[in-house]
Symmetry: C2
Subunit: 425 residues, 2 copies
């Protein structure tokens, strides 16, 4: 993929891809659930049938990655073996079982003049996915977009380009063989920045951009896109332990939130403790966290109560550690906790542990996050855990989709107005 | 308002305004419908009580506008007299009667592990409105935003700046007197471009930008904003007359769409006629349109059938005339009509006149517009006509809101998850 192409060539090729995607999307919008499911099944078969080729192409990426000095964790994420190939194919088959979100009658009203106004769910059209490293995103996101009747234009990172190309090829072959319009799943073969710059201005063809990756990538997308973007930058999730809280429950929820899988966006990064229970709770939770290997930084009260804690800086309160570290602060009441979370948090997932109804109400109403929890671990912010069946991502935005995004969030609606010749007086 | 301020001063003042707006929004989110309605009533009273001051400030704008050479139509839009002041105040009172969109339980599910997930509507937060000329936008949009629990940061055009400032002042005085958090309604007093540039990057404070004005203003907003934008650029609305159509009905709908109020976004700009009825229908509709003073441009068939028509250029099909002109084209079938509308249209409002069920189905499904009509004038795309009670604008976007936007479109949702200590296994 290192053949040299001019920016003009990239521009005109992307425009062609965009137009083809749009036309495919119009045809997809008219397909039945059965037709779309048949495409998904054939895509899954095509991926499994090409396992040997996929592993060969993936080896190229792994070799290049090693030469580039990617970390063992990065190389592991990149790797496709038989089990992972089967898992991608099975993922597509599972999507066939999900409820088709298209064609739902959302509301219906007959106006006094006799016109009937139906609000009906329809596909968004063309969805642009910009992602890094993991090649399974190619397959997972194409499957979900297709089930919701959307065409998809994929732009993956350079580390996985050979794997992404062959996976997109399999998806296309399987899909088109079973009636999917050609162009409904396309992967941009150029991994340089120019391709993203062009893509982000193609608002005549692309209806939504979903970036999946690090905060840097997502900020670039937001700053340059003229197309609507749904995203989350990061997950700085909080647990607030109220004065009236079950301390065993609080400890469980914090340990689960911090330690069960520290590298994910719904893991806990900051613990807020009501000052009335600080003396009782902080030594205890610090001991439990330390035992799990968690480093602790805290405010002066916390450092006074737990000698192993180091002083937190202002930056710590904004930080998503994505690892075994936590920042801990005492607050005077639930209002100060809410203020802290809204100021320093990322509007993702935040929890109160409390048995005081008034505190709980203030917290759940006041915290401006996509998901607020009462006596439940923040780790449940996930499409599967929410019963959505699958998710294409999590949004900390407020427009269109907030929290885990399933298939319905990949649709929009249109108004269909029928009558018998009514005109406006 | 011509005192000179440095870009740094504008920047720091706007940041302060933004933070104040955000804090006010958090307080607004906790207000009851009764409290918000009381604010709206007091705002209305404050505007009526200040009628003399408002007219005095408005005179300054009118005088400056005359000196700048604004057209009579522009000056008329700018003008505030007693009737218009009363109408703005009454508009606020009408908003009190609308259903509060906040706090609706959108869905509720109990998962097998016992956690309960409620999806509840909440305010968006801070809405930024960028608008031109008409000062009533200050009042109308503040009222709607407030009722939906949102703070609003307004940025009006230079022509109406004195009127906008006093109106915002009245809204604030009335609101704050009756319990509205200070800062919930703010108007940016600088009308230079720098203020817009800063505002469009304030994504830490502003949750949504709604631009209202010409296509140029809206494109600038979309290209520069890091905040989500809901908009419509223009309304290039179509009527397609099918082979099997009631010709009287078609004529009525076209004349209504083109002539009843040609300057609005849901007026008809392009007529598509099935070639099988072109000979019958085109001379007839051209005569009816010409009688109303409508200029006609058309394809070669149309020009052959109607000598008064001038040849349409490629540009004509994209054009929103906003006046007494229409472009007319013949198409071979409904599919070609759909293709034309999706290619040249603005995804606003498009109509088929037909009694053929199959054609109607193809059209209503295939046309990628916010509102599609069967045997009804496109002029009905309007919040009031849709029964929404009021609208803050019309969206041709697909994300979050499509078509007329009422109060529910000024809210988002959050997930509230409650349990008894559940952690993720």
């Amino acid at each position: 993929m290192s053949r040299s192409v001019s920016p003009e060539e990239i521009h005109s090729s992307l425009m062609e891809m965009g137009e083809k995607c749009k036309l495919a999307a119009y045809r997809l919008a008219g397909m039945t659930s059965a037709q779309k499911n048949e495409c998904l099944r054939k895509m899954a078969d095509a991926i499994e049938a090409a396992a040997a080729d996929i592993k060969r192409e993936n080896q190229k990426d792994l070799k290049a990655g090693k030469e580039k000095g990617l970390s063992a964790a990065m190389l592991d994420r990149l790797k496709l073996d038989d089990a992972r190939i089967k898992s991608m194919a099975d993922g597509l088959r599972e999507v066939t079982a999900l409820d088709d979100p298209v064609g739902k009658h959302l509301s219906s009203v007959v106006r006094p003049n006799g016109i009937k106004i139906d609000k009906v769910s329809v596909p968004l059209g063309v969805i642009g996915i910009i992602f890094e490293s993991r090649p399974n995103v190619t397959v997972d996101s194409a499957g979900l977009c297709l089930k919701a009747g959307n065409a998809v234009l994929l732009r993956g990172g350079s580390e996985a380009i050979n794997s992404n190309i062959i996976l997109a090829h399999c998806l296309n072959r399987g899909g088109v063989e079973s009636g999917m319009p050609d162009g409904a799943v396309q992967l941009i073969p150029w991994t340089d920045r120019e391709a993203i710059n062009v893509m982000l201005k193609m608002d005549q063809y692309i209806d939504l951009i979903i970036p999946r990756g690090g905060e840097g990538l997502i900020r670039t997308v937001v700053e340059n896109s003229t197309i609507p973007v749904i995203k989350h930058y990061k997950g700085v999730c909080h647990v607030y332990v109220d004065a009236e809280a079950d301390m065993d429950m609080a400890e469980n929820i914090i340990i689960n939130g911090k330690c069960q899988r520290p590298g994910v966006c719904n893991a806990v990064e900051t613990l807020l403790v009501n000052e009335n229970v600080a003396e009782e709770f902080i030594p205890r939770i610090v001991a439990a966290l330390t035992e799990k290997g968690v480093e602790i930084c805290g405010d002066s009260t916390v450092c006074g109560l737990a000698p192993c804690a180091v002083p937190a800086t202002e930056d710590d309160w904004y930080t998503e550690y994505l690892g075994l570290k936590i920042s801990v602060r005492t607050v005077k009441d639930v209002c100060e906790a809410v203020y802290h979370i809204n100021k320093y948090g990322s509007h993702h997932s935040d929890c109160i542990v409390s048995s005081n109804k008034e505190s709980v109400g203030i917290f759940l109403n006041g915290v401006d996050s996509s998901t607020v929890y009462h006596n439940v671990s923040t780790r449940f912010t996930d499409g599967g855990e929410f019963g959505m069946g699958a998710e294409i991502g999590i949004s900390t935005d407020k427009l269109h989709a907030r929290g885990p995004m399933g298939l319905p969030e990949l649709t929009t609606y249109k108004y269909i107005v029928t009558g018998s010749g009514q005109v406006r007086p």
